[in-house]
Amino acid sequence: MTTTESGAPPAPGGTGPADLQERFEATIARDQRVEPRDWMPDGYRRTLIRQIAQHAHSEIIGMQPEAAWITRAPSLRRKAILLAKVQDEAGHGLYLYSAAETLGVDRAELNDRLLEGRQKYSSIFNYPTLTFADVGVIGWFVDGAAICNQVPLCRSSYGPYARAMVRVCKEESFHQRQGYELLRTMTRGTKAQREMVQDAVNRWWWPSLMMFGPPDENSPNSAQSMAWKIKRHSNDELRQRFVDMTVPQAEALGVTLPDPELRWNEERGRYDFGTPDFDELVRVIKGEGPCNAERMERRRTAHEEGAWVREAAAAHAAKQASRSKRGMAA
């Protein structure tokens, strides 16, 4: 093993592969962070690149369902909140692409992988946003689920990812509370508003539960990621946490979660709930969700229509560099 996926050279000092592997494993075992210049197994690097890139892509594609309502937000205050939130998502995408770049890939390459369908993004963003209540429900459910997934990543073994997650989680938590606050206002409003909220809850509940991925017995990459401490809790454990957190909040809002099997289990001290339709999850991940084509088309169009701008910026920078070189030579 002489090169990594990124072509980085082996660590200096004549240390053998076995020593490097041992040192890496000791770092993980001591719960210390792996940093960009440390040696790491190719599989660890590949897994992280894939996970961080998919996370970044999800932030960027995830802007679309909510951005659809910025121009129509029904008050200036809601417009400002929503615009700031979607802007935060672009910022999260930027952090995460930067974190991925510490592993030796670049953002343009990751963007190509997204546009070519070689890397995925979270399936949740392939569902449509039909009313303004969806903005609140996405904040409450989707950001809530994202937090359950991401808070443990603040302790991920890879340093740059863990540190990016601390800030991302703080902002996601803010978004989740703002989403809840919108729903709280709407459920205290008109009958039409309450119906909009319930309808949005009905549509987003199951797809939100699917955000935690397939059930543990069917999650092929999980065991290795847990061993590497990239991941800290199983899919089913995180799904359970999300349900336990959300049920009392739904009760307080006066909305019904669309699951007839949902009930408190005294013995477990947790809620029992039904099984999401994981066949639907597989179909949506394969590209057959209601908005997959639309989301990719928007991203592709923005990228293509922006090409002349990026080329102009690069050409200007090159001219500037050569002008200043000439200036120094003169």
């Binding site: 509370r177 229509e305 080329e311």
Partner: protein
């Protein structure tokens, strides 16, 4: 960091156990009045009708500009531009809210910000027409932003001396924001003017498209010389011709708009007008 700590604080709220009900899971309750905490008394002897008209015009410029900028969201040429354009839109939206609030306090109607934004028709808007034109390509957006931000910055600089303390304070806050907007636009104007043949051609086309709407900006506030000088400095540095062309008759400040404002407002106002009794 213990993830359980963060997780629990989310599930329970920082004040779990406090008797505020589910407000502990919500952020943003209780921030309704944009001028909260500001002394809004109108100084004696001030022409309140003129003040209200000034606030309204500046607010409409800001709101309509912000609306156009938000249309770029998810369509920008690069992620950094997503963040920057949203930032500029947020600044302008913030200015619009403060100015509408001041308008409501001084025009005798006591209306709130949303009454102005959502429940007036195109003919009642007083924004300049340049703000309402469709976004076009990134070059048009940059040229328009350069012109509007240079102009608004010059206007706000004068308004820091307004006899109305609220307008003066809004202007003082706004000039910091506008200085950034202008810098952002000028930097892109340089890149695009100098960059490639295509970007240069697009910039020339954008200058031609913006030029007829320039004259209108200087009708109410005489900052023509100052703004023209700034614009000439940027176009020259970018290797572009100066902005000039015959002025189009009509004036947004008098309620004469292009055909583009009504559809912009129809979209902006659609949800609010479909639920006039609702609270958001």
């Amino acid at each position: 960091m213990s993830d359980d700590h963060v997780y629990l604080s989310l599930a329970q709220g920082p004040d779990a156990g406090a008797d505020e009900g589910d407000a502990r899971w919500a952020f943003g309750t209780g921030f309704e009045d944009p001028l909260h905490g500001v002394d809004t008394a109108v100084p004696a002897g001030l022409d309140t009708a003129a003040l209200a008209a000034r606030c309204l015009a500046l607010a409409d410029d800001a709101l309509v500009s912000a609306q156009r900028l938000t249309e770029w969201t998810t369509r920008a040429p690069e992620l950094e531009e997503e963040v920057a354009l949203a930032n500029i839109a947020l600044d302008l939206l913030g200015q619009a809210r403060l100015l509408y609030a001041r308008c409501g306090q001084t025009d005798g109607t006591g209306r709130g910000e949303d009454a102005y934004a959502y429940f007036r028709d195109a003919a009642d808007f007083r924004n300049v027409r340049l703000a309402e034109l469709p976004n076009g390509d990134f070059a048009f957006t940059i040229v328009r932003l350069l012109v509007l931000s240079s102009w608004r910055l010059a206007e706000l600089q004068r308004l820091t001396a307004s006899p109305d303390p609220v307008l003066a304070a809004v202007a003082a806050k706004g000039i910091k924001e506008l200085a950034y907007h202008r810098q952002y636009a000028a930097e892109w104007a340089l890149r695009l003017g100098d960059g490639t043949e295509e970007s240069h051609r697009r910039m020339r086309a954008a200058l031609d498209a913006v030029a007829p709407y320039l004259d209108e900006l200087f009708a109410a506030c005489d900052v023509r010389e100052e703004v023209t000088a700034v614009l000439a400095q940027v176009t020259e540095a970018a290797g572009l011709p100066p902005l000039e062309g015959a002025a189009l008759p009509g004036a947004g400040r008098e309620g004469t708009h292009t055909a583009h404002l009504a559809p912009l407002l129809a979209e902006l106002q659609s949800v609010a007008r479909a639920h006039p009794e609702a609270a958001w």
